[in-house]
Amino acid sequence: MKKSSSFIKSLAVGLATFLVLVVFAYGFAVTNINFAETRSERRMASLTRILRALAHPKIFDYNFETVNVEVPFYLGCPEGGVEPPKVDRSGAFILVSAGCAEPKETIVVEGYNFQENSAGPINFIGFSADAPDGVPIQMGSFQADAQGNFRVEATIPNRQIKEDPQAIRAVGRVRVGAPMISQEAKVTWDKIVETVFMALLATTFGTLLAVPISFFAARNLMVEVKSPLSSIALSLIGWALGMGLGVAISRLLTHFQTAFFSSFLATLAGAIILPILGSLLARLTLFNQNKEMDLRFKSRLVNVLYSLFAAALILASILFLGKLLLQIGAYLTPNKDVPLYFLRKFVSQAGEIFTILAPVVAVLVFGGIVGGFFGQIGQTVSDKTSPASSKVFNLIVAPLAGAIAAVLILRGLDWFYQFNNPAVTLYWPAGIGAAIGLALALVVSSKQPLPIGFIIYGIFRTILNGTRSIEALVMAIVFVAWVGLGPFAGALALALHTVASNAKLYSEQVESILSGPLEAIQATGANRLQTIVFAVVPQIIPPYISYTMYRWDINVRMSTIIGFVGGGGIGFILQQNINLLNYRAASVNMLAIAIVVASMDYISSVLREKFV
């Protein structure tokens, strides 16, 4: 019994080994592994050439002093031979073993009186009617000895035989002066700075977006969020209304601003007065809510109206500040040659950021205010009315919300797929959405809290996982098409990838926090925002800092190759140098990458240790 089982065991092991061998054999076949090729002389020669070039990064360059020495030479010996050329022996001179030769024939070139250790090519110069100055073809190269003499064999190039005299020229070059930083090294420095800052900007802006997103993708925070159908449906309607309101108001404000406030002083006045008014109003409404929580509908409505007004004022302030900065920036940068151009330019760029962000903020803030208020109404309906009447309420609002959501989604898809057909973008989705809403309202018991938080969590997770699976290199291709070749496209691609991966990593950190403090803060009567600020944020700051540093490190590494697809940075010239077979310059680029990546590695690990 025992014997047979051990036999089966060894058979199984043997079979497994055989299978592994088969797998690897197949792997060798599909990866075209070819050892004969690696030994071939031609391959070895090119390997040697490249490795030697890479081992000599062209960091330093020298000035050269050049001496050209030329003797006449006949390609194809004329009948009767040629006279040996007269040679001036006062300076450097060369002697050629014959005054004429057939193509592909080997001759001997001797040189005398060159500067010691000078070196350079020996060229055949072909003259013709098209090129009266001659076209040099390199036949060989020389390296003079300490006396300035050399003797080399060179092969005549395979060219058409000519009657007119051609020439053999030796170009002796010798280094003079101290070594200088090479042009390649200067370009590398510029590009490596570009690379590091590309990574810095991508990390910063990606992180800014990733932090709020990470809360929505954290399971432990989101599963607790449950609302009855009436609240979900109404808040969906509220969000749609609020977002529409946000778009309308930001359009209106922009229009108003361009129409009436074009002069600098008017903009300045607006940029000063509006924020003051907005913050005063915010203080009145948000910060000075009567201390006892007032749960009545009327006071809530008043509060929402105040909040909307305050939000509109703050939006207007953002727009005015943006315009003010743009105007100041335009005044500061009359041309590109002013000192500290980049700082002045940044003023108008900051203004542009404000102008771009204003509508986005408007949509989110207005959507949030109205959606939140509607959600509260829905919650109150579910809390305070009888099951039957809240069921009726659900039957009305759920189909409406479903229809709105479906139409909005199809509107978004329409942009991609250009249906251009109201049946597809309006009637069908409205009908199907309403049907789903109606079905939900019928099936779900009217007061049962639905796991809306879990659904939102699922949506965020799916989007993040999808985005994360696309490499920044691939994203860069899209951004290059949008903003053109260069580091801006690379920074955008890296930033987007940073949002996706860091939001995922962050949310995992949120999921691993201790639940005790969370529970304790909730027990004090804190609301959701307060719970996050007091119980979640203190716990996640160290891992967030650590992951941000880590991401910067990764982004520096990524940004070194994002140039391969046109994303700017050092990868751009590295690829160029490789394609031009300029391996010594490529070697400088690689050296710079190695130094930067290694030092980033070190710096980020030191900083992480400090913060955590």
């Binding site: 910060f287 201390k291 005790g516 403090p517 909730q522 027990a523 004090t524 804190a526």
Partner: protein
């Protein structure tokens, strides 16, 4: 003041943690909740302020139906119910004073508090509460720099910041040594006697129950097995609460 009627809780996995538990608590009472680990003590306490949603029954507090309260009303109710935890549940990276001030979160303006701004009167009150539990000098240390006993005092100070009418203490001394346990229990007793705060306290050790509690209720596998004076727990009752093979210690 607190009425618990037929309270039941069945967890998602099907575990029935509470079965038809009913009892009343009078204003100013010190009620001990005893029972084995897993008998439902923590679940009971957390159902009262709805950190855990009960699946059946009713809780009435101060004439208000806690089980039917909306989220906003619930936050309103929680302000008046302080809670003290076995593992203190402080935010360890925050300062002691921040932890204590967190007790005011239900009262203060949500926006300002999110920016970590509290009224001066609240800060003074926090220092007073820390003084009361004898660790005012530690107020600006990080919470995790304190010893276990000190951390639990911070926990009590946090609960007291709510100006509670009732404190739920979930095994407040289970992770402390006996000497510290008594000092913490004395703070709770002081709060109970001097401030008239009702205390519901789950406890492991019967001698602590005898020493501090006015009344005790006992849970076994989610069922109420005893409701009366601690002095009435005789050997027979003891075995009913803790199982046949249990022996008294301490």
């Amino acid at each position: 003041m607190l009425e618990v009627k037929n309270l039941s809780k069945t967890y998602d996995g099907g575990v029935q943690a509470l079965k038809n538990v009913s009892f009343n608590v009078k204003q100013g009472e010190f009620l001990a909740v005893i029972g084995l680990s897993g008998s439902g003590k923590s679940t009971l306490l957390r159902c009262i302020n709805r950190l855990i949603e009960p699946t059946g029954g009713q809780i009435v507090w101060d004439g208000q139906d806690v089980t039917a309260a909306s989220q906003d009303e619930m936050r309103h109710i929680r302000r008046k119910i302080g809670m003290v935890f076995q593992h203190f549940n402080l935010v360890s990276r925050s300062k002691v004073i921040t932890n204590v001030l967190a007790g005011r979160l239900g009262y203060v303006n949500p926006m300002l508090s999110a920016l970590n701004r509290f009224p001066k009167s609240d800060v003074a009150m926090a220092l007073d509460q820390l003084d009361r539990v004898g660790i005012k000098n530690q107020a600006y240390k990080r919470a995790d720099e304190l010893s276990g006993g000190q951390q639990q005092r911070v926990g009590i100070a946090r609960a007291m910041m709510q100006q509670p009418a009732m404190i739920l203490a979930d095994e407040p001394v289970a992770s402390l040594d006996p000497v510290l346990a008594h000092s913490i229990m004395q703070y709770l007793e002081k709060i109970n006697k001097e401030d008239g705060v009702t205390v519901l306290c789950s406890l492991h050790f019967l001698d602590l129950v005898h020493r501090y509690a006015d009344r005790a209720i006992a849970l076994n596998a989610g069922e109420l097995k005893f409701d009366g004076s601690p002095a009435d727990i005789n050997d027979e009752k003891f075995r009913e609460i803790y199982g046949k093979d249990a022996e008294r210690v301490g």
